[in-house]
Symmetry: C4
């Protein structure tokens, strides 16, 4: 295998579909959001993407079968409006391989263009050192016209329009918009604030609530709520641990370190 | 040289051959098993694979000649059933070059397909922190149908069907099944439990006994037994050393560490 | 996207243009100089260069839109002489990807050749451990003939002809001359002495004054002067800090180090 | 530039030429030997090799001109026998880019084959922890037949036939023989024992004396002798320093180390 390839299982006819991305990244926010959306909408898988730029390994499943790492395309027929194509998966290209990222994202865009997709929504996490209250959702756009169209829809939601000039969106969540724009596509990126080192269902819920509003669809959040509760529980424990560590005295820490060396 | 290439010395006619892989990896388990199989069956070499993704060096032989690093294909004509193609070799692509792994494994599969191979068995080691009794053999499959076919053959053997969801099989042992599956091939992976930092003939023997059963052939294990005895001897010494180290007191260890700094 | 690509917005007719490069590097000297030149000449952007060898990310702008990392081509029509093509941008290929550097620089040269460019001037910083007086500008050339032509123009300016045999010019500032020379192009490289770890407007001004002289144009330096003043202020503070650190005693430093371990 | 390229200045007719390689490596042994050979034979440069796999930089010369890193081909017309093609240069592909090494060496062999070269001699250093007497020269061959042909010529010379099974020859000195062999070429590799961290003219002289004997030519070694004397002087100083360090007491070393941390 010398090139990213897509195995197509079905070629659905889609109505002006919006392409939604949620792949692994900070706090697994995008992946959780996309998987929940797929599950709640009962979206149907229609293609798999494999790449020689993904890690050279297979993953084992619970039933003792193995599978190359891959990304998966789902579609959802919307009776009341535009259809959706959703991509999620096991992995992104490793961060040391910029070239591979560009190749994979280019193939994704080639593929969804075949189904008429011209609008892209990407989802992910935005790492913050600490959370103040509920996680906010940071938004950015391919262009100013798209921003103006989204503005009224986003009114009243817990979103922050990014103004951090020179800030970066790394990986597929950024490149899909960047490369898409060069091809005349448009869209927005939604990143949920996250401490980053947990499976952050709280941030995923925040992102998905905003995206559902944008899509004009209802998404039952109860399963994600449950996962979010677990997340919150983990967060509380992490914070307790951190507090406990700060209360320890220097001498004790010195001992810890010595033991660490042995 | 800009692409993986295969130099073919002979083009044997093979009867529905099974493709068996044993390349260097954890504890050299796969390589030992494949080499022993080749030796005992008196299998014949018919092709060499060279790749610009292997290390940029030649290896010196005892007779002062040099050779590019390579993988070697052997075949064995089975009078009582299906023939075998066995691959072993000096090296795999370095772990930093995922792309190279995919290219090399793709070429391997292209090549064995020319001889009609549709089934793949890969062999290797599975690193465990400690061994309890004899090493077990972990098994996984390309698909559920193949699993069902193998099940009765594996009954009574010291195998564990993998259920560690999200666990990985890195390198050729995994990719051959993963990419093969995309091409309509099927097969299984057999990994022998190993402490990983030795040339682990004990694990290789465990794997080969299971694979011989699967292939329905007899393999004389006495040479491997001898090697396994050496391995066991090494293991005993390592364990003694570890026990001795644990019995040492903290102060002494502190001194060791200090000396380590000078 | 699998290759460096250039999106052309306009195809100006240019008069024997000189190609001037100022991309990010040591002290951002080249980028500052190029951006100032573009601003003062009111040069017009006519093309964008994107590359799969750039970092796999988009940059956020103050207005919440995003953009792939890119390099930008500008042109300036000179009423009194030769026109200019100026390139600046967000980034260069990361230093771990030599191949990408060669690809990108090759495409730049292909592109400017379409507009008749045969002469190249590259700008950047040259890291020195300390500055003595005003920063000097180090000059080197594609060939001896070009050197002889530049010599009288550079007379009296604060330039040093490089004689450090085996010294290197890394990245676009060097490769444009090196690859250009293979294609029959010629030119010079101007590097301003810089401490390297600041946005060094002082060095950029030094470089631009020399380059303006070479181009026979007047460039108002007042905006850069202001930026340079800020730089000088920062420099003074850095030097004070360094002096303060050197005056500290050994014991104290030892304590610092211990704390650093915890 | 997307591929290794060779700029040819002249196309000499050569008589069954031997291709001799001496590129930078351990102790610069190969490069020194090749440069000395070129100088003493007054060999003529006829081609330059450039590669996008070399470092992305130009080198500055004493006369303020710059040059891409490159390898250089020279030829020498032998009135009494077979002609020579000699390659030396600024650099090899960095060790992190195996693929680049294979590409560059493949192009070298393509090129010398155009001039009828079928035999290859590579030169380099072999790092040893300490030298006992004069440096020996380690020899290896593409094949046993070539070894038998070289044997009588090497009799009485300070050479060691390598028997370190699994030992490696890294870079062009190894790959030229390994890839050459796949193309029906033959040859030998001569590595001079070296401490490795100096410009080792002593080892270069040892290698060149053996190679000159093989080629049946006389090479005046006086210039290399002088360089070798300097090397020996440096060696003596290094050894004195090492002895002095070993005589120092532990406490003092402890202090050294502390200072090293500050």
């Amino acid at each position: 295998m010398r090139e990213t390839m897509i195995v197509v299982h079905e070629r659905p006819r889609l109505n002006d579909p919006i392409f939604i991305e949620g792949l692994p990244g900070i706090g697994l926010v995008g992946k959780l959001a996309a998987e929940h959306l797929i599950q709640e909408l009962n979206a149907k898988k229609f293609a798999d993407l494999y790449s020689p730029h993904f890690m050279h390994q297979v993953l084992v499943r619970k039933d003792s079968t193995v599978e190359l790492m891959r990304n998966e395309f789902y579609y959802w027929k919307n009776e009341n409006g535009r259809d959706l194509i959703i991509i999620t998966g096991d992995t992104q290209v490793p961060p040391t391989d910029s070239y591979g990222h560009f190749e994979v994202v280019g193939k994704m865009l080639d593929f969804v263009a075949e189904f008429g997709a011209k609008e892209i929504i990407t989802m992910g996490g935005f790492q913050v050192p600490e959370l103040q209250g509920e996680p906010k959702v940071l938004v950015s756009f391919t262009d100013l016209e798209t921003k103006e169209e989204y503005k009224p829809i986003l009114e009243g939601l817990p979103v922050l329009f990014r103004e951090d000039e020179g800030g970066a969106i790394v990986g597929a969540a950024g490149l899909l918009l960047g490369i898409g724009k060069l091809r005349g596509m448009r869209g927005a990126c939604f990143l949920g604030e996250s401490l980053g080192y947990i499976v952050d269902a709280k941030a995923a819920k925040a992102v998905l609530q905003v995206v559902a509003k944008v899509l004009g669809i209802e998404v039952d959040m109860s399963a994600l709520d449950e996962r979010a509760k677990e997340t919150e529980e983990i967060l509380r424990k992490v914070q307790e641990m951190q507090r406990a560590m700060l209360e320890q005295e220097m001498p004790q820490q010195g001992e810890e370190e010595d033991r660490g060396y042995l």
